[in-house]
Point group: C2
Chain length 247, copies 2
């Protein structure tokens, strides 16, 4: 079933006019017919079932049922990635949203080869936020995770989170295998966590020093070396396995 985000507050049995973009996708691309149903998420992140009752001149949906579904992780997991090369930011964004990320931050790190200069930042963010929206629709999220850009590690470290970690290759190599689970064990519902990932070139010694002196915990993500775009997906799946799968 299709799943769309609306910016308004929805009420049972009310009729709503679909925004052009949603109407276009559902009716022209997916070819919805009258009386077809889709899920609509309102501005309070509540999910309703809506039925197409009119196509032209405006597309109108009747809200027929409240769906008590929540596909969000109990803890809010943000990731911050050193600017990666090529289209890896696209891949990270799409997959991280499917995996349940709360918020994605790309930041300028010392060993990033990619640079987002001037108005490229806005163009990139527009594109990435569009990818995030599509992925949130596709994976049936209750929220659309935001994609943001931060110009320096110093500014990134000013943000508030309950827990902060950095996926550090050197920790992984030295066999660090306990910190992530220890931190997850300490977290409670609605807690926030930030995990920082380096770009292809990794995290520089001065960056790791700055992070550690700011209380960011280095973590290992298993014995294999993960690419810059794979590590965030491992982390998110680890959080989901820990918090969302039951024994």
């Amino acid at each position: 079933m299709q799943h769309y985000f609306l910016h308004e507050h929805l009420k049972l049995n009310s009729n709503i006019v679909l925004p052009h973009e949603v109407a276009h996708h559902w009716i022209s691309v997916v070819r919805a017919q009258l009386n077809d149903q889709a899920e609509f998420v309102d501005n309070k992140h509540q999910v309703y079932l809506g039925k197409l009752v009119q196509k032209d001149p405006e597309s109108i949906v009747k809200i027929v049922k409240y769906l008590d579904v929540n596909t969000e992780m109990p803890v809010k997991v943000s990731i911050a990635c050193g600017l990666p090369k090529k289209n890896k930011a696209d891949l990270i964004t799409q997959k991280a949203v499917e995996m349940g990320v709360f918020e994605i931050i790309f930041f300028k790190s010392q060993w990033s080869i990619a640079k987002w200069r001037g108005n490229r930042v806005n163009k990139k963010l527009k594109r990435l936020n569009k990818i995030a929206k599509s992925a949130a629709e596709q994976s049936h999220r209750n929220i659309i995770p935001k994609v943001e850009y931060i110009d320096s590690l110093t500014d990134l470290l000013k943000l508030n989170f309950d827990k902060r970690m950095v996926a550090y290759e050197e920790s992984a190599k030295q066999g660090e295998r306990t910190t992530l689970k220890m931190i997850m064990n300490q977290m409670k519902g609605d807690n926030t966590a930030l995990t920082i990932f380096g770009p292809e070139g990794g995290i520089s010694p001065s960056e790791i020093k700055q992070m550690i002196s700011n209380g960011v915990a280095p973590i290992g993500l298993g014995p294999r070396i993960l690419r810059t775009e794979t590590a965030p997906l491992y982390l998110l799946a680890a959080f989901s396995t820990f918090f969302e799968l039951k024994e």
Copy 2:
């Protein structure tokens, strides 16, 4: 550090002539100099440190140290994916190898839109096994996972594994959250597991019926709907989190 697979048995202090492909990559692409070191995995999956002692006319490496490293999961996790569209098989292969997969099988499933016909199978497998090898080098594996093709679900179900599961969207929707952890809890070192994933169109009712009657357990991978190429990565990260991270 570079990491290469060799087909011979390595012994400490012996000199070996590098195969052309390895020599080309290490010396011409990475630009290794005399006395530079790299990791070499032998045909028994043991890892050694080797030092470049001659470049021309043959490239010769002296084996200088045995490295007691094992980056393989304690259990052997295979995945079988219904033929996906476009270059998704490439992405699944690369990322699954990084995530620690033991073996990757692509199989013809009822709702696959992609078809691998006749000699396309061999071409595809050659390409995918090359991707697997690169990813195994990059992620410092002890083995190169094999990529195979099976023509039907019936043949896939004839293969022997200690545990067999299928990632089933309907199970996920109905809130199935316990089977994967239950199965992982039952597994011991060196046990084998196969998890089956549908293509974009999903698994057909007759396929799921056939799997269940063959003792394959339907599992949910959390509350969000994962794309066909994302679900195997979630599964592998879940296995790694369970078996390789400690509390």
